[in-house]
């Protein structure tokens, strides 16, 4: 923020520092341990009267001089140059806080150089005792250099009390300083042995080579064993959050852990081969394998250490992208472009959106991500996103995993960055155009009420139903199912609700398969059927999320009444807005790639093996694990809670747009499920359900009350909605506790408010709109239509496709019996209504 950012593309991210640091760190540890190795080996040569070993030490010390003093020194300065360029703010803090720590280290390094030069140039020219003494000075200075640098490196991981005091000593003698020093000392000795191999295997004399290779084995193995308790102590010195990041094997760290752990066997196999095959090329190759394994071990360790420090450079003080923690609030309030110094665009407009986004990318992303380069390339990571999805990703980033810093800036900043990534880096055009829907005519002609004797009211319990377009990969539930409920009324002055002696059958899409039988259910006082074969298709194969079901009531093969309703079903889930994949060839919704990407994300975050399961031919069913009360997995969230909870972290603050990101309720898609009268008069999802954060928080609260810890982890981030206060939200069970109509329509009256109060849910499944009846036993849905498709619904495929029964028996698309329409069922005019208060009142929102 303070400093300009060096804009890199291919060489962006940690590449530069990783390359130079790992090499330097390897050589620097070798320089420290190698001192011990040289002096002890030389001493052993003198004591055992083995001039050949002393001669070896002399040769090795030249190799040592060239590698450590020249290469080590230059790469050391190189690290400094590099971090100054990549993270100037943090480097400045390190320089200013520890200026005399560095200066002291510099003094020790100067002493180290003098000692090493004297050691090499005077080898064999002065007494053994004096030469060994100079060697010991080298050892001392080398280790003191490590002592100084180690304190500052450890400081970045665990700054301890320095965060409050700003005191040099608090920072230097920080919690992980001593274990780190012990560990690094052991590693230094181990590397001395490893580098010893490299020169030892080239010795021609068999006896000498054997002696020295065996000698180096001890130097490698013993320090390795000694290092283990220090590593454990090191781990214990970390903060609980840091320990958890390692233990939880956060996806970003698991590679580092793997790398760290798997180089160890390679190291030992190489050593065994070297000892066992004491001749020729095999031994030499093994020595270099061991050298590389050592480099890998070091690289893995440093990677893990740096990873554990995420999302900070100085833990708790400065984020990975160089922004100080105490700047975060100001940046979020004022906007990042108004807070940073080195930017051109202080205001964002449609014209400069991409240029401003580029500056934000530079400020927030480039310190860790390359563009097309080998290190942490941003392109594959953001490939699947459109601008909306990218914006959502940025919004939730760093919250659940905590590996990356959270996005800092205003919503406008965030969108500019999202659009820069999607439109400038990926060259995508935003927002696909609205789908053009071909109308599907349907016959809604009324039946003459004078001759009609029976009224057949039918509705689907669900007004919208989504299922996976790639069921061979995953499905939310075992199979798409829909329930329809029908009530047959014989018209009369006092109509009869016919419950037996008749047969009700249904056929899907007019004439698909044999008719199904509907069974009378006492609980609902209706004939009911569960339909298991659902496809959003017409008979001719065209996509149609509103197939028709024909229900026929017969008595002794005589047709009493017949009607049709839609059976809403779609594959149009919005997964691909964020999870990539192209549009499915089979119809709207996700294709196989999207479906697999979803599983990959799940595997990565939750360490599952779902992709492997699918590759073995076993499709995944979400509810198989995420059922609300699965006894064997009490820590798992129920499906609704997991889906809404996890995604709300990314979609908070977006209003009803957030719902349409996944559900097929948008006005531009191929389904447009939200089509009832409430849609028509401009109410949005959140008017009844609350915002995405409200929906998620209430579900999570219930899971949290059941003792599922992950619910709390997610809830922590759901503060975007002004209505949501984690303490006040009431727990809610999915599919049971849902918005009540009477929340707004108090006493069946026109509402005073269009914002439903939260925490006031239906108490049981039986109390849901789709299950309830009026005082006369008629189901709510049979007079009002299915939820989300309330009469008069506006179906996108044909205006009145959802209103057929209303038209058929009443001649209008309005709720059955409204506008004084008692005569739908009653053959006489009724004085008062027993259905519910004002049931026959004039319908207000007429077409």
């Amino acid at each position: 923020m303070n400093y300009p950012i060096w804009e890199r593309t291919l060489a962006g991210g940690g590449l530069l520092i990783a390359v130079i640091a790992v090499v330097h760190v390897y050589v620097a540890h070798f320089a420290v341990g190698g001192g011990f190795f040289l002096v002890v080996t030389e001493w052993m040569g003198y004591r055992n009267k083995r001039p050949d070993i002393v001669a070896y030490v002399k040769t090795h010390s030249l190799f040592f001089l060239l590698v450590t003093m020249v290469f080590g020194a230059i790469t050391g300065v190189g690290i400094w140059f590099t971090i100054s360029l990549l993270s100037p703010g943090v480097t400045s803090i390190l320089i200013h806080t520890f200026v005399f720590g560095w200066a002291t280290e510099w003094v020790f390094f100067a002493g180290e150089i003098v000692a090493l030069l004297l050691y090499w140039y005077r080898f064999g020219k002065i007494s053994e005792k004096n030469h060994l003494a100079i060697g010991l000075f080298y050892v001392l200075f080398g280790w003191l250099s490590l002592f100084m640098v180690n304190g500052i490196i450890a400081f970045m991981l665990t700054p301890g009390r320095w965060l409050e005091t700003g005191n040099f000593w608090d920072g230097f003698f920080n919690p992980s300083m001593w274990p780190s020093l012990g560990y690094r000392t052991c590693i230094a000795l181990m590397f001395a042995g490893i580098f010893g191999f490299v020169t030892a295997v080239f010795i021609k004399d068999d006896r000498q080579r054997k002696t020295l290779v065996n000698w180096c084995v001890w130097w490698t193995v013993i320090p390795f064993i000694l290092s283990c308790p220090f590593l454990f102590w090191y781990f214990k010195a970390l903060s609980p959050d840091q320990q958890e990041m390692i233990l939880r094997l956060s996806p970003e760290l698991s590679d580092a852990v793997t790398f760290f752990v798997f180089t160890i066997p390679l190291l030992f196999i190489g050593i065994v081969v070297m000892v066992a095959r004491s001749r020729g090329g095999v031994q030499k190759t093994a020595a270099f394998v061991v050298l590389l394994a050592g480099l890998g071990y070091m690289g893995g360790f440093e990677w893990l250490r740096e990873g554990t420090r995420r999302p900070y450079l100085i833990y708790g003080h400065t984020y990975s992208n160089g922004i100080a923690v105490d700047q975060e609030t100001a940046i979020n309030e004022a906007g990042i472009l108004k807070t940073a110094r080195w930017v051109n665009h202080r205001e964002i407009s449609e014209e400069n959106m991409l240029a401003a986004g580029r500056e934000i990318f530079r400020l927030l992303c480039i310190s860790c991500h390359s563009v097309g380069g080998p290190a942490n390339d941003i392109l594959p990571l953001t490939n699947g996103f459109g601008a909306f999805g990218m914006d959502a990703q940025l919004s939730g980033q760093g919250k659940l995993s905590g590996y990356m810093p959270r996005f800092m800036g205003t919503e406008q900043d965030r969108m500019a960055l999202a659009r820069f990534i999607v439109e400038a880096l990926h060259g995508k055009k935003d927002a696909p155009p609205a789908v053009e829907i071909e109308p599907r005519p349907v016959d809604v002609s009324p039946i003459d009420p004078e001759t009609n004797r029976y009224v057949l009211l039918v509705a689907s319990t669900l007004g919208m139903h989504e299922f996976s377009g790639a069921p061979e990969i995953w499905s939310l539930r075992p199979s798409p199912r829909a329930t329809i409920r029908a009530q047959l009324i014989r018209r009369d002055e006092t109509p009869e609700h016919v419950m037996d002696g008749v047969s009700l059958t249904y056929t899907v899409s007019d004439n698909q398969g044999t008719p199904g039988e509907m069974i009378f259910s006492d609980a609902h006082m209706a004939f009911s059927a569960q339909i298991n074969t659902l496809t959003p298709k017409d008979e001719d194969g065209r996509f149609n999320p509103y197939p028709l079901v024909t229900v026929t009531a017969t008595e002794d093969d005589r047709i009493l009444a017949r009607t049709r309703i839609t059976l809403p079903v779609t594959t149009e889930m919005g997964c691909s807005s964020c999870h990539g994949g192209n549009a499915a060839s089979t119809g709207p919704g996700m294709n196989e790639e999207t479906a697999l990407n979803v599983l990959r994300a799940h595997d990565r975050r939750s360490r599952t093996a779902l992709v492997r399961q699918v590759s073995k031919g076993m499709p995944v069913t979400c509810t198989a694990c995420h059922e609300s009360d699965a006894a064997d997995a009490p820590h798992r969230l129920n499906l609704s809670s997991a889906m809404h909870g996890f995604h709300a972290v990314y979609l908070s603050g977006k209003g009803s747009e957030a719902c349409g990101a996944c559900h097929a309720v948008g006005n531009t898609g191929a389904t447009r499920f939200y089509r009832g009268i409430h849609h028509e008069i401009g109410l949005e999802c959140s008017n009844c359900h609350g915002t995405m954060a409200d929906v998620a928080a209430s579900l999570l609260m219930a899971d949290s009350e059941r003792g599922k810890p992950s619910a709390g982890r997610i809830m922590k981030w759901l503060t975007a909605s002004p209505k949501t206060d984690a303490k006040e939200i009431a727990g809610r069970r999915p599919w049971v506790n849902l918005p009540k109509c009477l929340n707004c329509h108090v006493d069946f009256q026109p509402p005073d408010t269009d914002e439903a109060p939260l925490n006031n849910w239906s108490q049981s499944e039986a109390a849901l709109f789709r299950s309830r009846t009026d005082d006369a036993g008629i189901l709510c849905i049979n007079c009002h239509g299915s939820p989300h498709a309330l009469y008069p619904a506006t179906n996108p495929y044909n205006l009145d496709r959802d209103n057929i029964p209303a038209f058929q028996f009443q001649g209008s698309p309005y709720p059955i019996g409204s506008d004084g329409g008692c005569r739908v069922c009653h053959t006489a005019v009724m004085e008062e209504t027993i259905h519910h208060f004002d049931a026959s009142a004039a319908f207000r929102n007429t077409r």
Binding site: R8, L85, T91, A103, T104, V107
Partner: protein, 327 residues
Amino acid sequence: MEFAFLVPAPDPIPIPWMWLQGLLLATFVLHLLFMNAMLGTGIIALVAMFRRRASDLPVAKAISTTLPTLIAFTVNTGVAPLLFIHVLYGQFIFTSSILMAIWWLSAVGILLIAYYAAYLSNNMTLMLSPGRWSRYLDIPGGSLLNLAEPMLIPRYLHFVTASVAVGGLVMAWIWQLKGRKGFADAEEKSRQAMGWFTGATAVQFAVGTIFLFTLPRGIRSLFLGGEATATFLFAASITGAIVALYLGVRRKIRSCTAATVTTIILMALVRDRVRQAFLAPIFSPAELPVALQTGPFVLFLVSLTLCIAAVMLMIRLAFGRRQEIRP
């Protein structure tokens, strides 16, 4: 764009700035000496190589054995002043380094010494010119260079010429020491080496004059009577150079070396005045916030003292009269 806004806010320093300034100058002079010796002898060796004269071979050989040591010390002594300049002028040098990041970073990798010196000059001038920093907004990729700076080339030549002079002086020392060991025509070689010193120093007067006149008028006038300290330092360093040249012609190696080191110290002070004068309109290190912590400074002083003692002890162990092993 108002460039003063671009200058980042500095971090506090642990002890008053004068101490850091003193350390900066002291270590910088040390670095200059090693750097000059390394670069100068390197250039002389390069010339010897191209001339391919048999008589030059021992020169090249002598240099090639000392060069690695000189490089090691040049790098080591370069670290300290770079550290202190970052403490005092961090908000300038971090920034200018980033603006020309690619070049600055290649200075590490590119082993060609000329390149190293060349780009170093460039950054040290860019850090003094915040007025040119706003070019970053068009060129954020770290490929800026301060090529429009008029003092860039004279300044670079000034350092290179000084290096050749010091290189000659170092060679003269080497041959004189060899002469004591009875090396044939060491006397002649030493004379030739002093020729490099006097020749380069004579040229330096011309280069230095050009350098002086490429400074902005306001800053130049400080050294020509405009400000007492600056004028005194400048006059003293010119005098030192004249004395060194005179002693060089007379081939008084020892006193010539003393005069040269004195001149370098004075020139380093002059250089520092130039830097402060450039930044004066927007910054002076005296303005840096101080968060006093003397403990670490004591740590440094103690370790420095102990290290010097240890080095002296090691030198005694390595070269003491009775330490040589008789073959």
